[in-house]
Symmetry: D2
Subunit: 341 residues, 4 copies
């Protein structure tokens, strides 16, 4: 309550709490009075109480998500698809081009990232582009090319789904459905991928709080799908020397609050090729369960995101050092024992 | 180019520009060399050039949007629906509850906001909620109640559409389709509302840059729909004493760059009832073409957003002062001549 | 406490609270337990308790500042210097160039802003510049020129003091000592200006929270100086189309929490001349007690901040409309009755 | 220039550029015209040109700092004090309590951090506190205790100096003068520490851009002091689950742009004890030249920052793993060969 709240206001609000089916405990302090509301609360309740007379603030005490929480599932979960695994000590690397551009491009990328130790292939077939005038992806043709690459290399296919109408089509070809940062709070899409029977990789929106991120995860888990990875790909801040600011403390926080595996995307998280390896090492050292990295046969001619893609040699060098860093922190880079021929 | 770029690198990049069908003009400075790329450029081109050898940065010179720009349409556009009008000197006020909760609630709100001078009614039937466990709206039943309120009061109905599957249904009842902040970059939805034959109100995402906002608008305009309003509802910053930070300079900027009307939402923009009137006056003084305000018969018992809703008396008092401020800056609050009985 | 806190941890922390001289009230909820600590608390205490075993969070209930608060002084205070007044219904306008550059420049600016209705003259003699290679101000010579301008026009002189060594010198010439945004948490300087016997204008740092801002004010008030104005000049956000983001909700918030007058700086707050008038009208409509505006005889040739300065005609036009907006919200622009000859 | 700029405006601005002593090169594009200004430019010039008629934007091409840049000094510099070294392959660890509180506290902390492999001791004697009512430090007494700790352990002493008046006193006892984040743009202080004849550790302000950070460094270097370390300690963003957001991409960026060593502070950068080790590993993996870590004999009873301090056992465990991570990325943790007895 406000420090000047009257006895009437305090009783009024305690009564309001009780009307909501909660128990009200009134604590009188030297400067102000606090009403503790005890019981099964809903966000709605907090909102309506906040506008009551004399109320200074309504503060939540329990986390608003359940299925994502450590309290419901104390041990870390692990998402596995073929050789790919992320979580519970396994570090999986997803690599490949921003967009699928041609058969030659995606096949050469798949072979190169496999040889360097990746266990999943990324590639966009449906591309969410800021401008309606930019390249929008190869669509189903792109999905087919990724499936062919899986056929040859055994890599799991991770690709983005942009709309509810595309979920079934994408799920036919892909192993993991990616929900992009722009769609993190597209609740219709979250429900649809939650029910699609495929593992999901959910990217954090660039201005999402951790509660919003975990509640978006909750939409997916709530459909009965527990094969879910969270991906930190950077937040929007005042910094202009990077495309986004990549907060690696997200790993520590999410590991404490949730059992879900945490994947880091240093490509979008920095927006500059030269920074990607440094942040990949940092992510693994901080305990990440996976990496998602843009790799292109020729970044200079890429149709999208060339400025943040590694070439094959750069990726191979990065993976070699990633293995050493993972060992230093007692994690295992799955698939990394495959020697680069 | 980087300051240490070699002559070979410079010639390489000038040639790369030419291969893209552009004209390359090389300017040698005392510290570094600039290559001006002249012609019809695409975002893709910038991205691929940025990763070239010796390139320091690629900077755009022309705006990436076209249909939204003043360069294509120099005069301000005005969106009109019944008595509601926003743009080109007219200031329209959209008011009503966050969510439609019952017939009594929405009818009483419609009558009250109409009497105070609003010309459009807001109300959520499909509610995007951060948590899957929160109230999700009355859905079609809510749309019917809003249509009934229009029947009696003549207010235009503004309501949010959350997914492509709902566009047709919502367009059957609503006068203006709202795209919420969380869906600002849900491109499938932008395309769908662009083709729905109804005026659209597009809310800015809380971390969207102005270029991203105007390119999202471009997705809608590109479907042939030019009845579009832009709504500033606050951005996410480090500030914790407001729900979002409401940047009114958006009005000046958007008026300079685009012909589209700009609506301000001081309810979401502040998150506190007591701040709403101050920011509403400020918005009108700064030249806003419209306001979107949450009004509820009983904010304290609202199922959502009660902490930022005005009650009827608060809204009426606010509107009286809004009229005076609009006059002071030579704008006209449409519908405001209706005397509050 | 964490939801899994043991009875031992709870008793341990309740005891820790008691050892700090506070009263501990333990409230057991369905999901977790809260310990309310009642009494005269210090920030230090919160910090040390937060690291105790099983502690989830320590949340403050009372505001950490006292002298700045409405609880200590319920009525708004007003700062007056000569004809200038800000607060308690009076709106004062401080205008002039970013830097004092020459006698002719400052005298012509003083005459022009006085004629248009300003009651105080701004001008930098000691300039905090981001780069050591930029123009650093005319120093004492600049102060003398401002004093001469006061002599002729009667305008109060407002100028920045950058270091403790300069306080006495600046106070000899100036009527109001300005603490710049970069020095908002330079506590040595705050103490020095607090004891200098002159009114102070304290600018908000671009990433300061409201509590940090008001605690910086508290450093000044704590030296016995109650002639203090708070100046909002914009915060640093991801937005790139303005120099800073100017949050006008600061006015509403500060008026609720503190008795101190609130001055808005739309010049630094936007960084673009064309936006300055719109935001000035908005600030007054939102209830600002003052404006601080950069005005230069020839913005194009200014040695600093030309891109955000108004010329004389622009300022005069702005002031005429400011007067109308102030009337519309029942505020009085002091000095504005002087007719522009 | 704006796309609608007239030939007169273009010629006017080209002439304005020439009057500033620069060479003007006019490039006519399909959509707009660019004027390249070539020569020794100053920030002032850019500002004044930006307000010219028809000007759309003035964009810098060369970095504004010189002495800090790789262009002036291509090889990385290393700061050495006794056994402590940071830069050019050496990783130095600075550890100790937030504030010096007593002889026993600082001596036990010094012994413990030395044993675990730190080579410098941190500890605040003059404390910049947000509130004037918080503990302000032991002042000279604290400095004496730190000097005694150096005497016994050989650790270099790093401590903050808050004001110009204290520089001489602090320099008498300390080996490295720290400029805190709040004072990053206190230019008087930067000049004073630049001339004090001691190595300096400059902390980044929580909303400082990289250019502002490097220009603050330039103020120090410009006084003839090249024994300078840059410290990233987190930026202010919308995130609430950490005290600040710690952007490790700063390491990659600063290593590319400047020769100065980069130290990371994971204690302030996260604000939570449990996150500190993860971010310390990440910092070293990303290439940091040093760490600055808060360690306290009993975090729970610390007078400041207890919630982000490690205890002795936590620090020792962290250092053991830091050594392994440093090896994995071919860096050397100096002093780390001292076996913890």
């Amino acid at each position: 309550m406000e420090s000047g709240a009257t006895a009437e206001q305090i009783e009024h609000m305690a009564e309001a709490v009780r009307r909501l089916g909660l128990r009200a405990s009134v604590i009188e302090g030297t400067e102000r009075t606090v009403i503790a509301a005890i019981g099964e609360k809903r966000a709605d309740m907090m909102e309506s109480l906040a506008s009551g007379p004399g109320v200074a603030a309504v503060m939540p005490i329990a986390a608003p998500y359940k299925l994502a929480s450590r309290e419901v599932r104390p041990d870390p979960s692990c998402v596995r698809v073929g050789e790919f695994a992320a979580g519970a000590g396994a570090v999986g690397v997803i690599a490949g081009p921003c967009s699928v551009e041609s058969e030659e491009q995606i096949m050469s990328a798949a072979r190169a990232v496999k040889a360097a130790g990746a266990t999943a292939l990324r590639g966009g077939a449906f591309k969410p582009r800021t401008s309606p005038y930019s390249f929008q992806g190869m669509k189903e043709e792109g999905l087919k090319l990724m499936a062919a690459a899986r056929e040859e290399t055994g890599l799991a296919v991770v690709t983005e789904v942009m709309g509810t109408d595309d979920v079934e089509l994408v799920a036919r070809y892909a192993d993991v459905l990616q929900v992009g940062a722009r769609n993190m709070q597209n609740y219709r899409l979250l429900e649809a991928v939650g029910g699609a029977g495929r593992p999901v990789l959910l990217k954090r929106g660039p201005s999402a709080t951790m509660d919003e991120f975990l509640l978006a995860a909750e939409y997916i888990l709530n459909e009965g799908n527990d094969q879910l990875m969270l991906c930190e790909r950077g937040i929007r801040t005042f910094e202009g020397h990077t495309r986004f600011t990549l907060p690696l403390a997200s790993i520590s926080y999410l590991h404490r609050k949730t059992h879900l595996p945490v994947v880091i995307d240093p490509s979008h998280g920095t927006g500059h090729t030269y920074m990607v390896p440094d942040l990949a090492y940092a992510a693994i050292a901080a305990g990440a369960d996976g990496l998602m990295v843009e790799v292109h046969p020729s970044p200079e001619t890429a149709l999208s995101d060339g400025y943040q893609s590694l070439d094959f040699a750069g990726f191979e060098a990065m993976m070699a050092r990633c293995r050493r860093v993972a060992e230093a922190v007692d994690q295992e880079l799955v698939g990394s024992t495959v020697p680069a021929s």
